[in-house]
Subunit: 266 residues, 3 copies
């Protein structure tokens, strides 16, 4: 039982890591399903657009979803328009940008893993690049092949070109290899960027590591308690109002913090 | 039940060893999956780049991940920039380098096992070296074979060369053997380096073995207790602040250690 | 239940033997996996190097791992450099060598069983010796066979030589028989050496058998008790320091043995 607790504890500490991993894994699984079930390269001049749509648009959707599902976004934006003082002052703007950056970094996990897995898988890139309308790229891919290659490149992903099967396989292998190398490049640069950004952010923090841990614990327990206290307070207020409505009595006064105080704690 | 405890105890003592082993095993499994599912040698002039990307880039990503997931990294960097005294003095710099080395040694387990398993497996190295553009290497591999070997070497991994199947198999076996010997060399040098480094580190330690064990136990229990104390303190503080917010009362003072004290214990 | 206890008791008494057996068995299993999955003889002039690498390098790695995982190694080395008196005196040097020998004997179990199993299996030795560049050895193996045997010996393990299948099988059987005889030789000499060394060590011991048993039991229970006492002391110390940190009080003094005392008990 004791050991079980230890495992749970470790899990809780690395919660962020695990949730990032889960998001990345789910995205990768979704990408696999999409690329086998939904994706079908048109093998025409639309190849380039079609492949790029499958490569980038789902990533964009995931990014928007990430913004929508983040609590911090709403904490930041609620009342920001009516309450001009919240954005206008310079120091506020600075912290505004800081919070936006934080939210973006959290929201970018899913789209980045979509693009990385899609590139490693290679089928979207394959479809897109066979329709890429650049003579120099076509020549580079078709080096050592017959003239047909330059003309029939966009028919390759469907296996309908008039080239010999061995030649067309060669060309597809080259494009897939490019896609995978690009995928690794994306993964490496994301990992490097993550390390760099957290290093800089931590390095510039005014407090030490243990104090930061303390503040994190404080914020977490404050949030939890605030939520339960809010619920309780709201329930009490609702009960009072209802009973005063049904029993036609004057409501007994309950102290509720005023609007200014709420804005201050937000 | 008593025996079970003993087993658990042994497990706990060798925790570091077991976690290293688990990391190495997971990496090896991942490498196997990648080399069979994702990896497809392009059999063109890109061979060398492609093989090397699969051999080294995942190792680099694993290294970066190792840095990101290490608690020690953040303990070291948090507040290091704003607090110049932490790095500037010479003795501090020395211990800074020491901690960095320690973190690197822990983070290097996964990448090293990736490279070792990839070399023992041989398919990445095979693809890379068949595209290696060095006449002397090609001649060494193709010794006793026909002239075609020098020209068609990069087509070997796909089985598309115009050489006889027996000859091409011979060449591939030689390259794979080189890869495996290189893999054993990597493993041996890592093991030797690990033994040497720990020997030197322990040998220079100012305290004896049993005292070191005592300090380790002390650090562990201090960390555990510190964490629970921090959480409790944070909860108390949050409760006080919230109740003062809802009940519109002045908060009762709670003593919290100041910033200097936090920096000192970090 | 009573019988179960007896079995457990026997198991505990012969713990060392059982753990040696487990290590040997695991090594043998690993060797089998390696020789079927990873090992592929290149059938070229590299045969000799390749076979010997697979025969000896894993054994070397296992030896290094044995040193790294041994507690005694670290008990010996911790603080040995800073504390010159630990090595310099002659009697100390003598006991130093004694402990090193003991650690080596424990660490040598896994590599020895690797080599023994590899030789009994025969495939590594077969590959190595078919590439052995010695005319007299080749003549000895090829006695009564055609001239081709001397030239095509390194192609035998892949079954690609131009000799008749029956002849090549004969040669391989001879080499495998040599390998297995060598393997039994290794096993016998290790067993004989183990018996001899323990005989000499016990014979020179100043105390009788029963007294030795007593000292062993004493050492074991001392270690166990020391460990639990250390953990408890560390916990008490940590609790005191933490409470003094959060409550901003002066710490109450706890007596901790000084460095000299620690060195003495180590």
């Amino acid at each position: 039982m004791d050991k079980f607790k230890t495992v749970l504890n470790i899990f809780q500490k690395q919660q962020a890591t695990f949730s990032f991993g889960a998001v990345a894994l789910l995205t990768a699984g979704g990408e696999q399903i999409f690329s086998t079930v939904v994706f079908r390269c048109p093998c025409s001049s639309m190849n380039f657009t079609y492949g790029n749509v499958f490569l980038t648009v789902p990533a964009l959707v995931l990014l928007l979803l990430g913004y929508i599902l983040s609590n911090k976004t709403w904490k930041l934006f609620t009342g920001a328009c009516t309450n001009n003082s919240k954005v206008c002052r310079k120091e506020k703007l600075c912290s505004f940008i800081k919070v936006i950056t934080q939210i973006t970094l959290n929201a970018v996990v899913a789209p980045a893993s979509w693009i990385a897995v899609a590139l490693l898988n290679g089928s979207y890139y394959e479809c897109a690049m066979t329709g890429f309308n650049s003579t120099s790229y076509k020549k580079q891919v078709c080096v050592g092949k017959s003239e047909v290659c330059l003309k029939d490149l966009h028919k390759l992903p469907c296996g309908k070109s008039s080239m010999s099967p061995s030649d067309s396989e060669d060309v597809l292998l080259i494009i897939r290899a490019q896609s995978q190398m690009l995928g690794w490049l994306v993964i490496t640069s994301i990992a490097a960027l993550a390390l760099l950004l957290s290093c800089v952010a931590r390095c510039r923090s005014p407090v030490s590591y243990l104090q930061l841990m303390f503040w994190r614990a404080y914020t977490k327990s404050e949030n939890d308690l605030f939520e339960s206290a809010t619920n309780e307070h709201a329930k009490k207020l609702a009960e009072r109002n209802l009973s005063s409505f049904f029993e036609l009595k004057q409501p007994t006064p309950i102290v509720t913090p005023d609007k200014k105080a709420w804005e201050k704690v937000s």
